[in-house]
Every structure is written in structure tokens, then in C-alpha cells.
């Protein structure tokens, strides 16, 4: 499966990163690029629980393609959200089903963020994404 352009750019940047410090800098840079979520969309319905920080995720299926938006008050999770969204935004319902997101974060060298003990919320975000896929009207 071909990667969206931005996802490819992210992959190249993270693959080239040497060490935790560079990865952290990259994560923060990607976090700054995350499009803002409006105040009204930062509501309880979009809130993802199970995170140490506040996280919101909104997803819509428009003309057969997924459009997600997300926000957090913590910078590194914003980066993780940005990396997630570049991988999934614009995909069709079927294509999104096909994406192995665990593998995606693995390729980025960020697999630790998905370990079962992590409470930073990336797991909870992925779960919410699956819930949205299952019932897009949510």
C-alpha cells in the first residue's frame, strides 16, 4: 500500500532520527503542525478518556473518505496524534480497515507508545478511532 505524501515525509524524518532526543524534537515539531480543533469541537462527546492529558478526537466520513481531527493539551501526544492523522486522513473506509496502525508507529520507532502499560492515551485514541469506524455517526 502506498503511503500518503505527508506520511512518507514523517517516516523518512523519523527513520533518520538518531536517539530519543531527536525523536522528541520531531514529535514536538509534528505536534505544532496539528491543525487546531475548534473550541466547540473540544467537547465531551469528542473527549478520549484513558489519557494522562486531555485528548479529543473527531472523525467524519465524507463522500466515502475519513476526515479526522484531534487535539491535546500535551505537546508530545499532539505529535503522536499528528503522525496518526497523516497516516489515516483521506482514506476510504476500506483502506482505513487495512491500515495496521501498530505497525505504523513501529516503523516510526515509536512502538513503546503503544505498549499495554502506557497511559498516554495513544491506545485509547486508536480504540476511539475503531469505534468511530464501526459506527461513523457517533
Amino acid at each position: 500500500m502506498t503511503l500518503p505524501d505527508e506520511a512518507l515525509a514523517a517516516l523518512q524524518a523519523f527513520e533518520a532520527a538518531a536517539g530519543w532526543e531527536q525523536r522528541a524534537r520531531l514529535l514536538m515539531q509534528w505536534g505544532e503542525r496539528l491543525p487546531a480543533l475548534s473550541d466547540e469541537d473540544r467537547n465531551e462527546a469528542h473527549r478520549v478518556h484513558g489519557c494522562e492529558s486531555q485528548v479529543w478526537l473527531k472523525g467524519e466520513l465524507r463522500e466515502g473518505h475519513w476526515h479526522f481531527a484531534a487535539a491535546s493539551d500535551a505537546r508530545l501526544i499532539r505529535g503522536l496524534l499528528a503522525l496518526l492523522l497523516v497516516r489515516v486522513n483521506g482514506l476510504s473506509g476500506d483502506a482505513l480497515q487495512e491500515v495496521d496502525l501498530t505497525d505504523w508507529f513501529n516503523q516510526l520507532g515509536l512502538s513503546r507508545q503503544l505498549s499495554p502499560s502506557r497511559s498516554n492515551g495513544l491506545n485509547a485514541v486508536l480504540q476511539r478511532m475503531r469505534d468511530l469506524q464501526a459506527s461513523p455517526a457517533l
Partner: protein, 401 residues
């Protein structure tokens, strides 16, 4: 300042963690284990496991002997003398739930249960839920600016309707010894039962339960360098009499028919099912080990390390301590930095500290914080551990600010 721990080598996991570039500073969550405990577990499993208080055979007799020896060792550790009994449970949380269910029948609508604002969920939720089941009033004692239960406020809140007072000895977030003697006296004055959550307190220094004079004292084995899956409940004889049996099955029964049964008194009557036998024996070994240590040397080391931790935090810009920690741990937040971000970068650097609400959500909410970072110390930690932490902290803050 160099503060080596003379006991570090007694804990093999510390070296193993170091080989994995991990600096363990989360002992308030759970502790690493001494070799003496590992040896005891191996010995028990390698030489013949058996159930306790059931079998007439030799392995059963040996296991039961070792199990009951551990009970005595716990009693000695707490200097409980003949004041009461030691009941083994499956954890401190389990012990507190046993109390909340076992004492339920002693409460009537409108009675008060008193806890403090700093309780761990384990010593809050069982009482909160009991209050909801029975229409009781849960009274929450406020804290002063130092993180101590406010005695003046407590004197106004503990009264004739108070039936039970459940308080933590040492806060797992604020690291402050609570003024228990004064609070327990207030409970006694009004005829209320007292429960002390010693999960953190029991780990630091020796405590004399006869002097403390509470009705129930609870702690958790795994925080006291012992195995997990094991809690300890000490109850005074008269207080245990008021406890109804809670969980049923196994050797807690005296006589059973199809439609009725009679149960044993404490301790066995409250140890339903097969107890965590190996863990009980292991805790005995950990206590034997701890008893060989020079207590004043342990105290001096822990105090020096804690002072070093506080000093290192205080000289750094923008760090705000929660309360005024006295021992064992320090929780903090950094101005303008999300605790989740800081935790992320400390983890990246192999620093094992705890971030978040520390199982005390109402306390963190009251402090107006989404979470905090907690550094907590064990007797195996040394100043090099703290230097690694400070270095990682500086690196993380450089990146984040």
C-alpha cells in the same frame, strides 16, 4: 555528595534494571525484592508446596508451620503483642474492602464515616461505596498547606455521629506523616472505630501498633520489599469481633450443612480460599532480612537521600512541590510543562518515575492539577540514581521549554 546504599547489592533486580539502563525511582508503587525473598520462594517451591491448615501430611505440616511463622514475624514487626490478630488478605485494597463489607452491619442511616482529603483510592472508595449503599455521610477532613490533615478542622468534623475514621499514615502523594495520635484520640473520644492505611507508612521506620492504638491497621506486602498478592490486616481483638464474615469458602468454615454454616473466628475465618502461601512465606523472609539491617543506618540513609532529592528539585526553576514532603517521596509539577510530556521524556531516558494522579484523583483535583510526577525512594537507591534523574530532568526541561 555521595550517598551509596550499603544494601543495594542485596537486591539483584537493581543491577538487572541498571543493565537495561533503567533507574528505578518508583518504590512507592512497588519495591524491588531482596535475594533473601527470592531464596525463600525458591526453597518453598523446590522443596514441596502444600496447602495450609488442611492436610495431615508432612508437606502440609511444613507449609503450615512456615505460614504461621510468618504471621508471628508480622506481629513482631508491628509489635502488636497480644493486642490482636494478623489476618492475611490478597492485598491492602482487599483488606480495606474486607473491613468495609465486614463492618457494614454496624452502620445505620445517617452515621458518619470520616476519611481525609489525601486518601489513596483504596482507602476512599470502599468507604464511599459503603456510604452510598447504606445512606451514610462520608466526611472528608481537609488538609493544611503543608499537606497535613488539619487538626482544628478535624476536631469540628469528628463528632458523636462518627462511627468510623479511616486515615492514611503517610500520604503516597505528599510524603507527609499524618498527625495520627491526635486524630485517633478524637475517634476514641467519640467511640468511633479507627482504620489506619499503613501502605506507605509501614515501609519507613518501625511502628508500634500497641502505641499507635488503632483498631485496624492495613498494609501491603509488595511495598515492604515482600511479594505481591498479599495484604496484611491487623485488628484488635474487640474490633475483630465486630467484623462479619465476608468471603466464604475453604478453611474459613467451622461446620457446614447444605443450608447453613458456621465460621471460624479471626484470623482463619477471614482467610477464605487458599491463601497466597508462597507470598506469606516470602514476606516472612523479607521481614527477617529487614530485621538484620541497622535501623538507624537505614533511617539516616533514607533521610539523606530524601533531602538530596528535595534540594535538587528546589534549586531548579519553575518546580513546584506538592505539599511539604518529609520522607520517601516527592511529587512535583513544573510551571508551563505538562506532566505527561515530562513523564514521556523521563521514560525515554530510562527514568522509572510515576506520573499522573497516583490513585488519588480527588486530591489532585483539589490541588487543581491534572497530574504530577512522583519520585519515590527505596533503601537500595543511592545518590547516583538521583543524579541520573536530575540530569534527565534537565534534558527534558531543556527540550520542553
Amino acid at each position: 555528595m555521595l550517598l551509596p546504599s550499603p544494601w543495594r547489592a542485596d537486591f539483584p533486580a537493581i543491577a538487572a534494571l541498571q543493565r537495561q539502563d533503567q533507574t528505578y525511582l518508583d518504590s512507592a508503587a512497588t519495591t524491588q525484592k531482596p535475594q533473601a525473598l527470592l531464596d525463600a520462594l525458591t526453597h518453598y517451591y523446590a522443596n514441596g508446596a502444600a496447602n495450609v491448615h488442611r492436610a495431615q501430611h508432612l508437606p502440609g505440616a511444613h507449609a503450615t508451620q512456615a505460614f504461621e511463622d510468618s504471621r508471628n514475624k508480622v506481629g513482631q514487626w508491628l509489635n502488636s503483642g497480644d493486642s490482636g490478630q494478623i489476618v492475611f488478605t490478597h492485598g491492602a485494597t482487599s483488606a480495606l474492602n474486607l473491613l468495609a463489607y465486614g463492618l457494614e452491619h454496624t452502620f445505620s442511616q445517617g452515621d458518619q464515616i470520616v476519611v481525609s482529603a489525601l486518601e489513596h483510592h483504596a482507602n476512599l472508595l470502599p468507604w464511599q461505596q459503603l456510604a452510598l449503599r447504606r445512606g451514610l455521610e462520608l466526611v472528608v477532613l481537609p488538609l493544611d498547606s503543608q499537606g497535613l490533615i488539619d487538626l482544628e478542622a478535624a476536631a469540628g468534623l469528628i463528632g458523636p455521629r462518627t462511627r468510623l475514621v479511616a486515615l492514611s499514615q503517610l500520604s503516597n502523594v505528599l510524603g507527609a506523616w499524618q498527625p495520627l495520635p491526635a486524630l485517633l484520640a478524637m475517634a476514641r473520644q467519640h467511640g468511633a472505630l479507627s482504620v489506619v492505611d499503613g501502605a506507605q507508612g509501614v515501609v519507613h521506620g518501625r511502628h508500634d501498633l500497641q502505641a499507635l492504638d488503632c483498631d485496624f491497621y492495613v498494609f501491603s506486602s509488595h511495598k515492604l520489599y515482600g511479594p505481591d498478592g498479599l495484604g496484611v490486616l491487623h485488628g484488635r481483638h474487640d474490633a475483630l469481633q465486630r467484623l462479619r464474615h465476608w468471603q466464604f469458602g475453604g478453611e474459613m468454615v467451622q461446620d457446614a450443612d447444605y443450608h447453613a454454616a458456621r465460621f471460624r473466628p479471626a484470623p482463619l475465618g477471614f482467610e477464605a480460599g487458599t491463601p497466597p502461601i508462597a507470598s506469606v512465606i516470602g514476606l516472612g523472609a523479607s521481614l527477617d532480612y529487614l530485621a538484620t539491617l541497622d535501623q538507624s543506618a537505614v533511617h539516616t540513609h533514607e533521610a539523606a537521600l530524601h533531602a538530596h532529592l528535595l534540594q535538587g528539585l528546589q534549586v531548579r526553576k519553575g518546580i513546584r512541590l506538592l505539599g511539604a514532603p518529609q520522607v520517601a517521596l516527592a511529587s512535583f509539577v513544573v510551571e508551563g510543562v505538562h506532566n505527561a510530556d515530562l513523564a514521556h521524556l523521563l521514560t525515554d531516558q530510562g527514568i522509572a518515575v510515576r506520573a499522573g494522579h497516583h490513585c488519588a484523583m480527588p486530591l489532585l483535583k483539589r490541588l487543581g492539577l491534572p497530574g504530577a510526577i512522583r519520585v519515590s525512594l527505596g533503601l537500595y537507591n543511592d545518590s547516583a540514581d538521583l543524579e541520573r534523574f536530575f540530569e534527565a530532568l534537565d534534558q527534558a526541561l531543556d527540550l520542553l521549554r
